[in-house]
């Protein structure tokens, strides 16, 4: 049997100890119960505290189980919570970019649109919340595929249909796009799903840096691109929005 890691065993024992009683425990209670030197116990507790598995009561200095343990068992972010947190930022992205904004999450083999902000002109538009988009050709789908391993395995196994002559269908080319997306932190779709339509999207991370969704704009290729290139100010605005929502979810700066 492979060698086990002693400090992990000790950390597990600490969590069991804290889970056993209803009272909070002090450092000396913990170290003496487990037969550890105070310094050793303190180092482990501090690490657990940093990860959110243990919390220290400010007044008494005693330790208790942390909220992170509950989240482990119930770990997905509610999509409606995501929408509520994203609302102000996505409104602002629509205003600054002049384009429609979509927020998408992985659902089965595609992207589920969970939030949609109209393009800020007076034209008639229909709310597309609940619609599905393909993973392999849209900007939202590419971002999810690049950052979320579950999405990635879906897209690799699925048949990647050619919606337009520009759709990237071959696996090698597609993996190249994934690498590019991860390297620059955003993805684009220039007439790869719909003729005449371009979009840009960036990933949203939660407080544990897990990819929870993607946000992006979609508009006429003539407005989103200039001289065959995506307009840099639009890319910047999309990335700003994704970062702002991530920050709101507790993700650190990056």
């Amino acid at each position: 049997m492979a060698r086990t890691i002693q400090s992990l065993e000790r950390a597990a024992a600490m969590l069991r100890l804290l889970a056993g009683g209803e009272r909070r425990l002090g450092l000396s209670d913990i170290s003496s119960s487990l037969g550890l030197a105070k310094g050793t116990a303190h180092g482990i507790l501090r690490t657990l505290q940093q990860e959110g598995f243990v919390e220290q009561d400010a007044a008494s200095g005693r330790y208790q189980l942390g909220a992170e343990l509950l989240r482990l068992g119930n770990s997905y972010l509610d999509v409606h919570e995501l929408r509520a947190r994203a609302l102000v930022w996505t409104d602002d992205l629509a205003r600054s970019s002049g384009e429609a904004v979509y927020l998408g999450v992985l659902h089965q083999q595609g992207v589920l649109v969970v939030h949609h902000v109209f393009r800020p002109d007076d034209s008639r538009q229909v709310l597309e919340v609940g619609a599905m988009q393909p993973l392999h050709s849209t900007a939202l789908g590419k971002v999810l595929s690049a950052y979320d391993p579950v999405a990635h395995s879906e897209v690799v196994e699925a048949e990647r249909a050619a919606f337009t002559p520009r759709t990237v269908t071959g696996l090698g080319d597609f993996e190249g796009l994934m690498g590019l997306t991860r390297a620059r932190g955003w993805a684009a779709d220039v007439e790869e799903t719909w003729e005449g339509v371009a979009s840009v999207a960036a990933p949203i991370h939660d407080r544990r840096r897990m990819p929870v969704g993607a946000v992006g704009i979609t508009g006429a290729v003539e407005r989103v691109c200039q001289d065959g290139e995506l307009r840099p100010e639009i890319v910047a605005a999309v990335r700003d929005c994704a970062r702002a929502v991530s920050r709101d979810l507790g993700a650190g700066r990056f």
């Binding site: 409606h80 409104d91 800020p120 709101d248």
Partner: protein, 523 residues
């Protein structure tokens, strides 16, 4: 709760705001004071916010420390202007919006409040209101003021202070004491306080005192006499959009103070409901719906309030009908905190979306009686139509439907009173992020529900009114052109289903009434 869009990532790239000048709006609210700086397109440039203490001296009593509030207002203005990197020269005007009806009285020579401000939610004047109703009851002043005699409104709170703060009545009659709602308190302090501060209020705030005659927009002498309130304490009633005075001191010294609107009226203005029949509904803990009824006050025979919507300078005033729902967002919180059926407010939609309909269950959240249009204090909450089939998901759906049906009841009452059909409902507030709720409201109203792109309609309304007063914006048409639709929900429910469901809802409402009888009615 969430960090505001303009605090961190803004000012870069495509999301940067336009170049000045700007308008600053102060929102002196029930739980906090905020300052938001807007650019000419109505976009948010910067925000700051500070909470103040809620003081509960006795059950049913709610107070604020007006001195703390004034300190906070100065801080948030300072901070918002600094965050935006602006100086007084960049800001063309300051607008005020405020929690309505909250009452403060202070000494004009020292600037010191004589008592904590009595907050609108405070019920200490319940008995006084009954007494003031005499043999007529709570509608004694409705014809003049558009309001029932209820503890929310400022007039009875003034009377309570005069009766209960020692020596106050004598000082008030000598002319040493000033009364104001929070707009007056903020404006008086902004414009110099003891050194020449102007003592004014606007028509919308004055329309919540029970002391202003809606037709002449003047303090009503008969009512003042009936309530035994000396006219000397009252501020001068001004329009909602005109220069009241100039800021003295602080980071915005010399900037005109140019608007005041009660918070719900400010939201009506921010939603650009400038045409008769246009309405907005703000979905928060409770819900407030206002409909523009044009230049004449409309009497309500269906339990709504008649109030002033706004008045721009010396133009004709615009009136509104108002209906409120006591329990909306707070019902979702109740599901989370008391029932533990969800972990966050947003999860109500997740849970409700797991079923197609309410499974026959209807939830009437009459936690403290039924408000508009019924006004039945003997009602209490019921969940009706329960069978073995009903799950927590059906209850979650019934929770959302309760808000939607109550919206329908208020719009029906508004249509009856005003004779104007609602063409579309403009919504704002935290619950507008709930897609299922918005769709359900559209289904039940059989009308489109529209969410604007700037969620901060209250502050925006105050900014708009101030900007109009100083010529920063030329007209309400220009403001309307700034308005952007962020989302629109259109009805998808067939008429037969809607009618059948509405009947069931009304049956459930009936079941909630008369729960308390004389021996159990709470004081």
């Amino acid at each position: 709760m969430s960090e505001n869009p303009s605090t961190a990532s803004h000012g870069h790239g495509a999301s940067s705001h336009g170049h000045g000048p700007f308008i600053a709006a102060i929102d002196q609210g029930t739980t906090s004071s905020r300052c938001i700086v807007f650019d000419k397109d109505g976009r948010i440039v910067s925000v700051d916010q500070k909470e103040h203490e809620q003081i509960f001296p006795k059950p049913g009593w709610v107070e604020h420390d007006a001195t703390e509030i004034w300190t906070n207002v100065q801080q948030v203005v300072d901070s918002a202007v600094h965050k935006a990197g602006l100086s007084a020269a960049d800001v063309k005007a300051i607008g005020i919006t405020n929690q309505r009806e909250t009452t403060v009285m202070w000494d004009r020579t020292t600037g010191e409040p004589v008592h904590n401000a009595i907050v609108w939610q405070d019920t200490r004047t319940d008995a006084l209101c009954k007494e003031l109703g005499r043999n007529v009851g709570q509608d004694r002043f409705r014809r003049e003021t558009g309001l029932p005699l209820a503890s929310y409104f400022a007039g009875p709170k003034i009377r309570w202070l005069l009766d209960n703060v020692e020596g106050l009545r004598e000082r008030a009659e000598r002319g040493d004491i000033l009364f104001g709602t929070m707009d007056s308190w903020v404006i008086w302090n902004l414009t110099g306080g003891v050194d020449g501060g102007v003592h004014v209020t606007d028509v919308t705030n004055a329309s919540r005192t029970l002391l202003m005659n809606l037709h002449g927009l003047r303090w009503d002498e008969k009512i003042l006499a009936s309530m035994d309130i000396p006219a000397a304490v009252l501020p001068e009633i001004k329009s909602s959009a005109e220069v009241y005075g100039h800021t003295v001191g602080g980071v915005l010294a010399g900037v005109p103070v140019a608007s005041a609107l009660g918070d719900q009226q400010a939201a009506l203005f921010g939603q650009t409901c400038f045409e008769q029949g246009e309405a907005k509904s703000t979905y928060g803990t409770g819900t407030f719906m206002l409909m523009n009824t044009g230049h004449e006050p409309v009497n309500s025979y269906n339990g709504l309030l008649t109030t002033v919507g706004y008045r721009i300078g010396d133009q004709q005033p615009v009136y509104a009908l108002e209906g409120s729902i006591a329990v909306t967002g707070s019902l979702v919180q109740w599901m989370r905190d008391q029932m533990g059926l969800i972990n966050s407010a947003a999860e109500i939609e997740t849970l409700a979306s797991t079923v197609e309909d309410n499974g026959g269950a209807y939830f009437v959240p009459a936690f403290s009686g039924l408000f508009a249009p019924y006004w039945r204090s003997d009602a209490r909450g019921v969940i009706a139509g329960l069978t073995r089939y009903v799950t927590k998901a059906h209850i979650a759906r019934a929770v959302l439907e309760a808000t939607a049906w109550q919206t329908r009841e208020i719009t029906d009452a508004m249509t009856k009173d005003s004779g104007v059909e609602l063409t579309a409902l403009k919504v704002d507030g935290g619950m507008t992020s709930n897609n299922l709720l918005m769709q359900t409201i559209s289904d039940f109203l059989d009308a489109p529900v529209v969410r604007p792109m700037v969620a901060e309609t209250t502050c925006l309304g105050a900014a708009y009114a101030a900007g109009l007063a100083v010529g920063f914006w030329s007209s309400t048409d220009e403001l309307r052109a700034n308005w952007r639709r962020a989302a629109e929900w259109t009805p998808r429910m067939d008429a037969a289903t809607r009618d059948r469901e509405y009947k069931s809802w009304l049956k459930a409402v009936e079941r909630s009434m008369g729960w308390l009888d004389d021996s159990t009615v709470e004081e």
